[in-house]
Subunit: 181 residues, 2 copies
DNA sequence: CTATATTTTCAGTATTTACTGAAATAGATG
DNA sequence: CATCTATTTCAGTAAATACTGAAAATATAG
């Protein structure tokens, strides 16, 4: 008979995989609500909760997805800076490893969303003001004014986000303490 | 010959409509990147930049969409609290009016996303910790630990968001000044 | 250079998500 | 209660998005 020990039993391994699979599936679902592709979120979850870097084939197999899909989304994650490519000497394959530090993950996502989504939105808001600068009438003024308010708020928020994103964990916590008073 | 005045000329009205249409279209595109349905974002933009409340028919007509689509998305916006229903006496139709105060818009979106997306994610993270509490082994520990870190961070951020969302404009700006200090 | 392993691309297809239009329901009016 | 107006629902369809699988490109080793 097997003795109880620090090593997991068969049942425990099964349980772990069950919970992990559930986590990955759910995380994928959350991702798609946030405008992130489901598979990308799943791969990110998979790499984040595992102990070692995985190859494309391992990702394909674990999630049951095609090579093309795995490849595209892995590279997309690398593009975000959330995943790094690891090359092991003697091995020809690439392996993929996720950033695990939650604060780093947060700042990366913050910066990337600023760059990809906030900045273009600000540009639109500024263009709209510029284009209607000389127009007269109630309607035109209402439009210009609302757009201006939006622009001021977004660029203000962006500013705060920018500062926060540059902080490292310690200083960020000190700042948070102030906010939480 | 028409004299120049505070009233907009024909050309100005055209220009205004052109810029407004561009704004609405672009805002819709941004919305879909953020996991918000395009039409809903467009209707929100339309109501936000206009001077008066619009009926379902006016929304349909302006955006060139079906009644069902207009109806569903208007009610969804009402569900978010970003749009109010106006009933004019003597009129049988409902009219829709958007919240225009940017700080209010921000706090509404903050609260709703917390409720709809962050809270369920936190629940998942907590469940995963609970379910794996007793499992032994390196893999299990890595999983539990990463999930714990995520949970701590998200619930911490949620906390800050919660406080900020409860502030009104003035105090929020004072707080922001500290952060930007 | 040839053989082999790995990555990348992408046309075709599947899945998901959003929209239409019309029918059903609800509300008001005389 | 018959009629008219407005709202709501939803089956069917359209559009957007994501995925597959295989072929092409690239890299490595002998």
């Amino acid at each position: 008979m097997k003795k109880e020990s620090a090593n997991p039993s068969q049942g425990q391994l099964e349980k772990l995989n069950e919970v992990r699979d559930g986590f990955i599936a759910q995380w994928g679902a959350f991702g798609s609500q946030w405008g992130i592709n489901r598979t990308m979120a799943q791969i990110h979850a998979l790499l984040m909760i595992g102990t070692n870097a995985l190859s494309t084939d391992e990702v394909m197999e674990t999630l049951g997805i095609s090579r093309g899909n795995a490849h595209t989304n892995l590279k997309e994650l690398v593009g975000w800076g959330l995943v790094r490519i690891i090359v092991r000497k003697g091995e020809r394959k690439e392996f993929f490893e996720a950033e695990k530090d939650v604060w780093k993950i947060f700042t990366i996502i913050l910066r990337e969303r600023q760059r990809r989504e906030i900045d273009p939105a600000l540009e639109l808001l500024r263009d709209c003001q510029e284009e209607t600068k000389k127009l007269k009438g109630t309607e035109a003024e209402a439009f210009r004014n609302q757009v201006k308010e939006l622009e001021q708020f977004v660029s203000f928020a962006r500013n705060i986000g920018g500062k926060v994103g540059k902080l490292s964990y310690g200083p960020a916590m000190k700042l948070a303490a102030k906010v939480l008073g």
